[in-house]
Symmetry: C2
């Protein structure tokens, strides 16, 4: 994961131009929604956005350009809100978007004073391609664009209720994440490059939603052979200083 200044946060002018012209450069009735997971203080976090001036919370999302691959769109959308590039992303499901017809999107744009044609497709049914992203919590700079009051981390089990079908999408994303936990990449991208064994264990526990045995966990991780112990230990905490580890293979998405 590389942090760069977010290249282009949506401004009011962008938004006006979108409905005036840019809308035709996008695939109509298609949206890409992204559950961004981070890990901090033993808790699994998710990045949420509050819509400007409304009591609506959702996960980051965006439209797909007509010549843009889905994965590229996911990366672009993610970069806007996190400042990160080449994040670990995975498509997990596509949602019909039919229970979302009552979305107060029209009122939202009216409140902002943006002219939107009554039959514009962003006001209608949106088929949503769901992605989840695993990011290093500390490297993310949550960025709210013109449409948002706030963009911030919340505990996945301690957060505002999400609008539209985003409760379902988040639920589904967590299940997909759980299913792919056996691959090393999950830990590799959710943790800083150097981490302790208890940290890695609490991450797994947060994703799986149950406690694990300390000794068995350590054995399993080390037997897998993809992490290595460093000479250094983590100082400063109370109690015995734990060893630091790092993933052996180049971490996916790290800068070259």
């Amino acid at each position: 994961m590389t942090r760069r200044p977010a290249p282009h946060l949506l401004s009011r002018k962008d938004l006006e131009r979108f409905f005036a012209r840019d809308i035709d450069r996008h695939i109509p009735h298609l949206i890409l929604d992204c559950a961004v997971f981070g890990f901090h203080n033993s808790d699994l976090k998710v990045l949420l956005i509050k819509w400007k001036g409304m009591n609506i919370w959702s996960m980051p999302g965006g439209y797909v350009r007509k010549t843009e691959p889905l994965d590229a769109a996911a990366n672009r959308i993610l970069q806007v809100h996190t400042g990160l590039r080449n994040v670990h992303l995975r498509q997990f499901h596509t949602f019909s978007g039919l229970n979302t017809s009552q979305r107060p999107v029209k009122q939202f744009y009216a409140k902002l004073g943006i002219r939107v044609p009554a039959d514009a497709w962003p006001l209608k049914r949106l088929v949503a391609v769901g992605y989840y992203a695993l990011v290093d919590f500390l490297r993310v700079r949550p960025s709210a664009d013109y449409m948002a009051d706030t963009c911030a981390w919340y505990g996945v089990d301690d957060r505002p209720r999400l609008a539209f079908d985003h409760e379902e999408i988040l639920q589904s994303a967590r299940e997909a994440l759980r299913a792919t936990l056996d691959v090393p990449s999950a830990g590799a991208t959710l943790l800083p490059s150097r981490f302790t064994m208890p940290e890695l264990q609490r991450l797994h526990e947060a994703i799986l939603g149950r406690q694990l045995d300390r000794r068995n966990f350590q054995k399993k991780m080390l037997d897998r052979g993809d992490i290595e112990r460093l000479a250094e230990r983590r100082r400063g905490g109370a109690h015995r200083a734990p060893f630091l580890y790092r993933f052996r293979s180049g971490r996916a998405g790290d800068p070259l």
Copy 2:
């Protein structure tokens, strides 16, 4: 799975009406493609369609109506080509559809003498939602509509080369199928309601692509507790007559 007369095979008139009017009732730039799997003579089969008058093979697909859930669209598309309703269906991935811009779709409609506007979205990029279906081979009546010369079963490893991104989609469908083989539903829907243990085993072997041990397989299946042995045996074959089994729970999609 219920067999009914296919309610509506696409006719020439339907096709003309689609481009004249019905196209606006569908979600633009979105297609739903379906890998239909069957099992026969120890072989995993897939249902393929040859485009009328062209050397193009693909899996069944279709467009999604504006008020139609994705699962419903998949069921509808499937019913057209197989005559089956309430088939075991599973969405597995959504494809960008960008490598398919060179599709000879324009020539196809020209050959058929159907007027299609040059900028109509079915000629452009199509994001494809991929489903796979598991069906009882013997109950399927493959039906070719007006756009197709033939609709027929082929061995998944002994078939024409597929056009567009359908090779990738089929590949991906097989992997998704393999991953969900541990759930009983796979066997339950690919086999007739009564089957023998060797039949079930050969099905699993076909999906997994490797041989399994006869004794361990039988133990595992019976321990799972979802199939039961019937008093009857399958007669007529050479050699010792094998027992018949059936799935315990009501098979998904069976008529009430």
